[in-house]
């Protein structure tokens, strides 16, 4: 083990020197001073961790040397984040990435993300977020996103992951809600044979364990996205499930996402009552109802994702957003009919634009392309290159 640790110390010294050199080159571009500053701090922490490995080695004690493996794994994780995400992301950054980054950054306060100092956008993949360094997250999006509003509401879901990671109490509170739900269920088991009782109790425990931190993160992010973006995200969620196909009630133990039907229900329940009755929402709901009617609900869906449970998850999530992010603006704009949707005003927020976009797309798609071009002409003039 000593030889292995020695070899890792040498390896890390070389990699960290290389990272330092790359950061120096990127710093000279003067595009993201805050990101560079955070990366330098991270580099400094990594050098300290490598120094600690050297110190442990010098103690020459077999028991103490066992403490090196978790340190090595942590260094690997940090190096991976820097060398596979931040450095290539900064190196490949183009005007389109910068435009979307600026657009998002100009909205973070309204979304309640006060701790976010800069955003690195990578328009080279499907929607995702890397929230490891929560002050300077990386957001991945498809390349067309710099010129299209279609699917853009998906970004709000990624922002939800940032919130979920930032406030650990959200997961703890959701776990409490879920445990409460299943404890009640346990109490309600009527008289039955002992073998049957054990079977039912095991099924309840299994249903409770289904709600892992990843699935909680996903469903919370849906709630956050609908809370901030309104019906435009509700449609985005329906669209995503319908275009992926398959039975939206199926529960997959390997998928970190809850089943599509549970996610769509969570989004719908997050909408303010006025939006639940609104024309666009009713249209989207109709699309959803038509899609799901040919699918059957397996019994484990009713058990693990019962509407009453999802409603409680939504309620706890909204309460957490209100308590922890009091400055987050819930989407509450009113768009009265198509004529208003077609009109852009300087005060329109990104989510108002996305909701107008949805209205036009669903009601008058032939007008959509021209409208989107107008929107981007304005957005580019505001947020293009710093």
């Amino acid at each position: 083990m000593r030889e292995y640790v020695k070899s890792k110390i040498t390896e890390y010294s070389l990699i960290l020197d290389w990272i330092e050199n790359e950061i120096g080159i990127l710093q000279a571009k003067s595009v993201h001073p805050r990101i560079i500053s955070f990366l330098k701090n991270r580099l400094s922490d990594l050098k300290q961790s490598n120094g600690r490995l050297k110190a442990i080695l010098n103690i020459e004690n077999n028991r103490v040397i066992n403490r090196t493996l978790p340190i090595i794994h942590d260094i690997e994780y940090q190096i991976y984040t820097l060398t596979c995400h931040y450095i290539p992301g900064l190196k490949r950054e183009q005007e389109s990435d910068l435009f979307l980054g600026n657009l998002l950054l100009s909205n973070v306060r309204r979304w309640g993300l006060s701790w976010v100092k800069d955003i690195l956008v990578r328009l080279d993949g499907p929607y995702a977020v890397l929230p490891t360094l929560s002050e300077i997250p990386i957001i991945f999006a498809p390349p067309q996103q710099a010129n299209s509003l279609l699917d853009m509401a998906g970004i709000y879901h990624e922002l939800g992951h940032l919130v979920f990671q930032r406030f650990e109490e959200i997961a703890d509170n959701l776990i409490e809600t879920i445990s409460g739900h299943f404890s009640e269920m346990m109490k309600e088991i009527g008289p039955m044979r002992p073998e049957k009782r054990t079977q039912v109790e095991d099924a309840i425990k299994d249903a409770k364990d289904y709600w892992t931190i990843e699935r909680l993160s996903e469903i919370f992010s849906d709630v956050y996205a609908t809370y901030t973006c309104g019906p435009a995200y509700y449609f985005s969620c329906v669209d995503m499930i319908v275009k992926m196909g398959g039975n939206p009630f199926n529960i997959s133990t390997t998928d970190v996402h809850p089943p599509g039907a549970a996610r769509v229900h969570a989004c719908y329940k997050t909408l303010l009552p006025a939006y639940q009755e609104e024309e666009t929402t009713l249209l989207v709901q109709n699309i959803w109802d038509t899609y799901v009617k040919s699918y059957q609900r397996p019994p484990d869906f009713e058990f693990k994702c019962a509407n009453v449970l999802i409603d409680s998850i939504v309620e706890t999530s909204i309460q957490n957003i209100k308590n922890l992010l009091p400055n987050t603006q819930r989407y509450s704009s009113t768009i009265r009919g198509l004529p208003e949707a077609k009109t852009l005003t300087p005060s329109d927020s990104l989510e108002t634009i996305l909701n107008k976009s949805l209205k036009i797309l669903l009601k008058e798609p032939k007008y959509y392309s021209e409208w989107e071009k107008n929107v981007f002409a304005i957005l580019h003039s505001k947020h293009a290159k710093k």
């Binding site: 442990i56 103490v64 403490r67 942590d74 995702a128 998906g154 997961a171 364990d209 993160s217 996903e218």
Partner: protein
């Protein structure tokens, strides 16, 4: 949408606990060897580490006894419940460690239980790290 965000969140939480527990255990082990000064560790660091491990052991014991929900400790609890060693024996080991820490005794072999838990946490962390690499 990729599951990068959800996996990263899980990893961050695991990392935090793993790092703090590993650092604290390292300090206690060095203290037991009488070699803290060689690695720039102060006596305040030793006090803080004892406190951290004491609180962790107490929390784990409480969760094991009452089955209270805990997302951070879930992998440990699940492993304990499915392993060969009875849960009662884990509780006994933790209680012995708690007693020694509370009485300010130098902990030596008592920390084996924390070494075992760290090994479990590290396995979980690297499992999730491999999932992240595949994304």
């Amino acid at each position: 949408m990729r599951d990068l965000g959800a996996i990263s969140t899980k990893l961050q939480r695991e990392r935090e606990l793993l790092k703090r527990l590993n650092d604290a255990l390292l300090i206690l082990e060095l203290d037991a060897l009488g070699r803290i000064s060689e690695v720039n560790i102060s006596s305040e660091d030793v006090i803080k580490s004892r406190k951290f491990i004491l609180e962790f052991a107490q929390r784990l014991c409480s969760v094991l006894k009452q089955e209270a929900p805990s997302i951070d400790l879930a992998p440990i609890i699940n492993h304990f419940k499915s392993g060969m060693k009875p849960v009662e024996d884990w509780i006994e080991d933790l209680e012995r460690l708690i007693e020694h820490l509370q009485n300010n005794r130098v902990v030596d072999d008592d920390v084996v239980v924390i070494e075992d838990i760290l090994s479990l946490l590290d396995d979980q962390f690297t499992e999730d790290l491999r999932r992240l690499y595949l994304r």
